[in-house]
């Protein structure tokens, strides 16, 4: 692949928003731009709507936004949902984590040239390696199916959940669901352990097909998570440098747009996470499983480099932790109680809420007029935040690919796999 004219890697498989990477000659050097070509601006959808509709409108950005918007409503009407409602929302959140990570892992495992091998029907021997790969994809899909069933029970449906409303949850669960939920939790834990095992031993290790993920690397960036409703920021080395309530978000996080991508970039305002290092895009920070992982420091990651395989390991760790929590949360007594909802009396004018979604930190802020109509909305979520990191990963992948003089499709595959994990 030559250096002179621009090359495009388009379309990139498995990305949430439609995006492409354009590599442009920049006086002898190459510059790779990760461009998002289509973007749904939440302001278009939410401004003018009744505020209690936010959970169902924002759920199309990601299922977790549904829970974040419900918490926003609780703040707006300042009501505290009863415990069992909190449990049901947490339970739904857990299953959404599983759904999101397993979907990413499944896309990772898809065989580029034969994504849907049909071993049962075709007579010819598929070869041991293909069969093994298919069985692994099968287990991931099996786990994903179970997680989706749990999300459907708790949230009405797995993709755009419905049940989280102002002050709690919209209805009790039917009796036979409790027993089913406990079954799902146990099965998921068992599957997730199996998945983590074969990822660690067969795929990410030295000879594994996904080993290439550890070859490209970028220098670490500060991270942020939402813990107990506050936003905690850690610097590159993983030390907590500060936390602030969601209301302070506009002062701490700025959102700006670049001409070459419709997707805005969220970045920490200077000084928020250590001195400005003068990179191209200041204040880039990271949310998601990686951000959550540091504070437990279970797996060994070199804090000097940040590679997609670290992200993959973080995701697997996240899966295991969530599955364990599910086994003790999915019990009947957590979901049975007198009331599933405290009815709000009066309505405030403005509210902010933060939630740690599967993909990372989600911050929502909204102002409302007298009749309960949304006047303005501020959404800061992983899609915007990780945009900066994803641009750097794309540059690293292209640079490494060109350096090792790989073919176009090879670079494209690595690019897709690495972007998938952030």
């Amino acid at each position: 692949m030559t250096m002179q004219e621009t090359t495009t890697f388009e379309p990139l498989k498995g990305q949430d928003a439609p995006c492409r990477v354009r590599v442009v000659p920049d006086d002898g050097d190459q510059r790779a731009y990760l461009q998002t070509t289509g973007y749904l601006d939440p302001a278009d959808l939410c401004i003018g709507r009744a505020v209690e509709e936010l959970p169902r409108i924002l759920s199309i950005r990601s299922p977790a936004h549904h829970l974040a918007a419900a918490r926003l409503l609780d703040r707006l009407f300042n009501v505290e949902p009863p415990d069992i409602a909190k449990n049901m929302r947490n339970a739904l959140g857990r299953s959404l984590v599983l759904c999101r990570h397993l979907r990413k892992l499944h896309l990772l495992l898809l065989d580029p040239n034969d994504p849907f091998p049909d071993h049962r029907a075709s007579a010819k021997p598929a070869g041991r390696r293909a069969a093994v790969a298919h069985r692994r994809a099968e287990t991931v899909m099996h786990a994903l199916g179970l997680a989706q069933e749990a999300a459907a029970i708790l949230g009405g449906r797995s993709d755009h959940p419905l049940t989280a409303i102002a002050g709690g949850v919209s209805r009790f669960l039917k009796d036979d669901y409790y027993q089913r939920l406990t079954e799902i939790a146990d099965a998921c834990l068992e599957l997730v352990l199996k998945i983590e095992a074969f990822f660690r031993e067969d795929l990410l290790n030295e000879g594994g097909p996904l080993h290439h993920l550890s070859e490209m690397e970028i220098d670490p960036v500060p991270t942020a998570t939402a813990t107990e409703g506050k936003i905690v920021v850690k610097d590159r080395s993983g030390k907590v440098v500060g936390d602030f309530p969601p209301e302070k978000t506009p002062e701490k996080i700025s959102v700006r747009r670049e001409p070459w991508s419709y997707l805005p970039f969220a970045s920490l305002k200077n000084g928020a996470a250590g001195p400005d290092t003068g990179e191209k895009m200041p204040g880039v920070f990271l949310v998601g499983p990686l951000a959550r992982m540091d504070n437990e420091a279970e797996t060994e990651t070199s804090e000097t480099r940040l590679t997609p395989s670290d992200a993959c390991r973080a995701m697997l760790a996240d899966l295991i932790r969530t599955a364990e929590r599910m086994t003790d949360l999915y019990k009947k007594e957590n979901f049975v109680g007198p009331a599933i909802r405290t009815v709000p009396e009066k309505m405030g004018a403005e509210a902010w809420a933060a939630l740690e979604g599967p993909a990372g930190l989600i911050v929502l802020g909204a102002t409302v007029d007298g009749k309960g109509i949304v006047e303005s909305i501020r959404v800061v979520d992983p899609i915007q935040i990780n945009n900066g990191v994803r641009c750097r990963i794309a540059e690293a992948a292209v640079a490494e690919g060109l350096a090792q003089n790989r073919s176009h499709t090879d670079i494209k595959r690595r690019l897709e796999n690495s972007l998938l994990l952030f």
Binding site: T6, E10, P11, L12, K13, G14, P18, R22, V24, Y33, Q35, T37, G38, L40, D41, D44, L45, G48, R49, A50, E52, E53, R56, I57, I60, R61, L73, F77, R103, H106, L107, P112, P115, F116, D118, R120, A121, G145, Q148, G156, R157, D159, H160, L162, T163, I165, A166, G167, S170, R171, P259, W260, Y262, I340, V343, P344, M347, K371, G372, I373
Partner: protein
């Protein structure tokens, strides 16, 4: 010879496309029935591949037409494939992205290009978000699977009807139970659905909604954040604005079953002209009072009717804002 299919997503949240993935896993290997020629999300096939393909049998198109590239892809697919299926409310009626049209149609904001090299230019934003069905390049889609997101069973019914030629396994009977009579017979006999068929029921959501209906007497508007009986009586009769009475059924009363009012993601029933007008007509006719002052008070409690009645169908079915 297996039919060649394409699965594509324009501007939207891709939930309908992941449903196709779930079908593959849940039902049986998709490529036993079809040869997937063009699926950017999973196969990474590019626009160049699309130009090379000369003929496709079926294309499952989801997402609304909001940017120039969406429109280009839609027009090319229309030319190349026999049957274009709009999957999900975005493709069928414009979906939630269509709410953007409520604002004054902003001229496509020219990104401040500055020194940007020409090849980094982004596809133009359309001045109005349009549904696939009825955009000027494409006169009529051949089939529609409504819903936001399109439910697995109806998507599977569409796939098995259009792709599997009726030999699919027993799952079709489950989906067929929800489809109207005229559609199921040709599907089962392998002819495929009649042109312009909508893979959903013909009645409104109330037909399959599990809640108890007593008498429609509308006393005052109740907002969903206020207290209401989450099981048992019909939500509209409790004063909540539930669009179930004027929305096509197919979901089986999923939202009302869970205790939240329906927001009309399956689009208007077949015989009506405009969902908003029908909601206004049905609810206001059953107002309890006949004194003008009291009627005015009740009517003023209805907030953001355009955003609520046309939430998923503004570009296609809101006759006054369609433009």
């Amino acid at each position: 010879m297996k039919p060649k299919i394409a699965i594509v997503s324009a501007s939207g949240c891709r939930a309908c496309e992941t449903t196709m993935l779930d079908i593959h896993y849940g039902v049986s290997a998709l490529n036993r029935w079809a040869e997937i020629q063009f699926w950017p999300f999973v196969l990474g096939s590019s626009m160049a591949d699309l130009e090379r393909i000369d003929h496709l049998d079926v294309c499952f198109f989801s997402g609304a037409i909001a940017t120039g590239s969406d429109r280009a892809m839609a027009e090319m697919l229309r030319k190349k494939c026999d049957r274009l299926v709009a999957v999900g409310a975005c493709a069928a009626y414009g979906g939630m992205p269509g709410l953007k049209n409520l604002k004054k149609p902003a001229t496509a904001e020219a990104a401040d290009r500055g020194d940007l090299p020409e090849e980094l230019a982004l596809p133009e934003q359309e001045n109005r978000v349009r549904a696939l069905d009825g955009v000027d390049g494409i006169d009529r889609v051949d089939a529609v699977v409504p819903g936001c997101p399109a439910p697995v069973n109806l998507v599977w019914a569409a796939v098995s009807a259009l792709v599997c030629g009726g030999e699919a396994d027993a799952r079709i009977t489950y989906a067929a139970a929800r489809l109207p009579e005229e559609m199921v017979r040709p599907i089962l006999s392998g002819l495929g659905p009649p042109p312009g068929a909508v893979f959903a029921g013909e009645k409104a959501v109330c037909a399959t909604c599990s809640r108890k209906k007593e008498e429609k007497r509308f006393k005052a508007v109740k907002r969903p954040y206020q207290a209401y009986e989450s099981t048992g009586r019909c939500l509209l009769e409790q004063g909540l604005i539930c669009q179930g009475i004027a929305t096509r059924e197919g979901c089986g009363g999923l939202c009302t079953g869970v205790g939240v009012p329906c927001r009309g993601c399956y689009g208007k029933p077949p015989a009506t002209f405009d969902p908003g007008a029908k909601m206004v007509s049905a609810i206001s006719s059953t107002f309890e009072t006949e004194k003008p002052a009291e009627i005015q008070k009740i009517a003023d409690d209805f907030v953001d009717m355009t955003g609520c009645f046309y939430r998923y169908t503004l570009p296609a079915q809101c006759m006054l804002m369609k433009g």
